[in-house]
Symmetry: C2
Subunit: 439 residues, 2 copies
């Protein structure tokens, strides 16, 4: 007998089917045992009566999270019991046979069938294999999967080629600090902090490229928005007129992600109470102007021309009130806080760069890059860096490069902010931080 999925049962009323899955809940009412069976498509109530001797005695022994295979008759659920808030609430299974595939070896630390686990994140992550079986937790990753797929789709539709760049690098590029070191045969190597140089090389060959891949940051952060390994949604585009082209493309991407998530994961959005303010055009504001707003509207003064996480939260709050927008671009960051390859603005104190803030958190950083070899060399020297360390990078600028720029976009932060999760770690299957390397 072929297995049916639980979400198919409403169309199989009156038929005998085989279902498989996990025991979500078991309720022993003496004469009748109710078992809620869970598979990847939903949950169905099953009824086991003493007449079915073998099934009934098996049901007596079964506990939560056992993996079972059952055969039975799909029936319409009696009127007063039917739950119309979900599809399979309209049917139940009258069980004929039960086959236990796997039992549970120990007492479970918590009940995954609850609608909300309501546990400290530490407990959720320490018991990741179990917590992932909770529907509300599980749904995070179905939505996450949509985000990376929507990204791949929208980028391809706009002529970007998907590339995969190496994560093992010969030496620290982009500054040198915060790289994880690897022993690579007889040499030392580092893990890539970003695909920056490789996606720029991609522009030289393909004009427009994107990458979905891990980046590694050896930063000893202890915040709700940092991890040491995450999946970055990168892009780089050539033949731009100015860095506004990059922001426009990123806006298209974010609108597409939100729209796909609304279309395909509306029940998850409802489960988390997620709502969005998406304007026709994302507001763009210069960082210096944002700092003035912070001072005037919130009495917050920053040291120097930069913004901290609290400032990002406040400016996001302000954009929400002023522009009806959950998104806001901050532009023209000072040269001093951007890498050597950032394209200077007309006033060379500033750069043609931006951050994108979504619901109070920076989710993307981007900008135009210098594409002229001599200008790049000058920028490296001006910062007291050694151009020899960048020889392999500089090489491509001797070969003819178009005006270009791009972004790095944190995939897990998008999921975090869409669902309003407290920590980005909740949106990562097995997060890595300073203290956590398991499971």
């Amino acid at each position: 007998m072929k297995r049916n999925l639980i979400n198919e049962t409403p169309n199989l009323i009156g038929q005998t089917v085989k279902l498989s899955g996990w025991v979500n809940v078991r309720r022993d009412h003496g004469k009748i045992i109710f078992i809620d069976l869970r598979d990847r498509t939903g949950i169905i109530q099953m009824v086991v009566i003493p007449d079915k001797l073998e099934a009934y005695s098996a049901a007596k022994e079964i506990r939560s999270e056992y993996v079972i295979e059952v055969e039975g008759l799909v029936k319409e659920r009696p009127g007063n019991q039917s739950k119309d808030d979900n599809l399979t609430g309209r049917v139940e299974l009258e069980v004929d046979k039960i086959n236990v595939i796997s039992s549970v070896e120990e007492d479970l630390p918590f009940d995954v069938s609850k609608s909300d686990l309501n546990l400290p994140i530490q407990t959720i992550l320490d018991n990741r294999n179990l917590s992932l079986r909770n529907k509300k937790v599980n749904d995070i990753f179905k939505l996450y999967s949509q985000i990376i797929y929507s990204y791949a789709q929208v980028m391809r539709e706009h002529g970007f080629l998907e590339i995969k760049s190496p994560k093992i690098l010969s030496a620290a590029t982009e500054g040198g600090a915060n790289f994880f070191k690897i022993k690579y045969f007889k040499r030392e190597a580092v893990l890539a902090q970003s695909p920056q140089f490789y996606k720029q090389a991609g522009v030289g060959a393909f004009e427009r490229v994107f990458e979905i891949g891990p980046v590694f940051r050896a930063e000893p952060h202890f915040t709700t928005r940092h991890v040491n390994e995450y999946i970055s949604l990168d892009a780089e585009m050539g033949f731009i007129d100015n860095f506004g082209d990059i922001m426009n493309q990123l806006e298209v991407v974010m609108k597409r992600i939100i729209s796909d998530v609304k279309k395909n994961h509306s029940s998850t959005l409802a489960e988390y109470g997620s709502e969005f303010l998406i304007p026709d055009k994302f507001p763009k504001i210069k960082l210096t102007e944002a700092l003035e707003v912070l001072k005037k509207e919130y009495g917050k003064e920053m040291l120097g021309i930069d913004i901290d996480p609290e400032g990002e939260r406040l400016i996001s709050d302000w954009a929400r009130k002023t522009y009806n927008s959950d998104f806001v671009f901050l532009t023209h960051y000072p040269t001093s806080v951007r890498p050597f390859y950032a394209m200077p603005s007309a006033d060379p104190q500033y750069t043609e760069s931006f951050d994108l803030i979504f619901k109070g958190v920076e989710i993307a950083t981007g900008g135009q890059r210098i594409h002229n070899y001599e200008q790049l060399l000058t920028s490296i020297k001006k910062r007291g860096m050694d151009s020899k360390e960048f020889e392999s990078y500089l090489e491509m600028f001797k070969l003819g490069m178009p005006a270009h720029g791009g972004w790095g976009l944190g995939s897990e932060r998008i999921a975090q902010k869409i669902l309003g999760l407290n920590s980005v770690k909740e949106a990562i299957l097995f997060p890595r931080d300073v203290k956590r390397l398991t499971p």
Copy 2:
């Protein structure tokens, strides 16, 4: 003026347009200068005449690979000159203006406009930024991009969830050898050789998962089929009846990739002379039987029950002749050459496992895994391994796991074999081997 792409020009005859790209070839005929301009969509011939003074003097200075922006009139190409082997061969651009965006700083080591570079792989990789501009080389990565997209699409269509697992692991799992070591803050960690344990965890939460991500192997190989970092197309599926379900799913995947590549990259296949023998059903043959074929048909005897690369080439040749198939599954590898988690067959000397051979090279390894906690513990102990090292892995089997299995599929080897490339490194943008960490 908005930029037009070169492949749009056949529909813009009689119009003045702006094009941007690289100088593929420049031919100075004295009175007339011809420039072939290349962008990501194609190549167009441009004509510059002395009447257009500024453009003409710019064209005099221009060299191969300069990045330029031009304005001009799209014209039908005179009959006897038109090349109908490509779309843009029917049109040319009469240039009005030329604007040089980037020049080339040095003499180029080779001519990228040739249809075939015909260079040693060492030279191609040492000059990667340049060699990628050659159309035939460039096309490899457009096809590669299709492979990973087709994989994501077909897996999703079959109910698999895309996951991203960590690449930094706390300790050597799966044996211990051939891991790259990382300094992770105050600890030692390793780079993931495969997402094996995490995709199995994915089965416990989502039933069916797939991942597209890098894996790292510290193996000092010097072959045309190995690199130390590659993109693995992984999958793991729960609630299987037997490991035939896994092979069937993988067959669906490979057929889809081949069919998408044929549909969308037929000119690249023609360029490389690629042809395929795809049978209705991929042949499956037991490894022991394959060894007998090798002995009988090719006079090749293996030591013990295992197969080497030459044996894979020969058995592939045999499958091509016998089954009209470029694919062949070898099944039931001995327990001794498979990991501790491999599901034993009825005869416990063998496992419910397979390799998939495509045109002479193993592209995938897979099989059913042990899903019972006690059985897994016994398997670990039987091999003299320490179960404490696998504590975090074993944990999930105490929670109820369905019968499951999956595969790891080498994405770059698929591209290599589809195009008949000598080395897998030709199908990787920036390959990493024992000696190569740059560019």
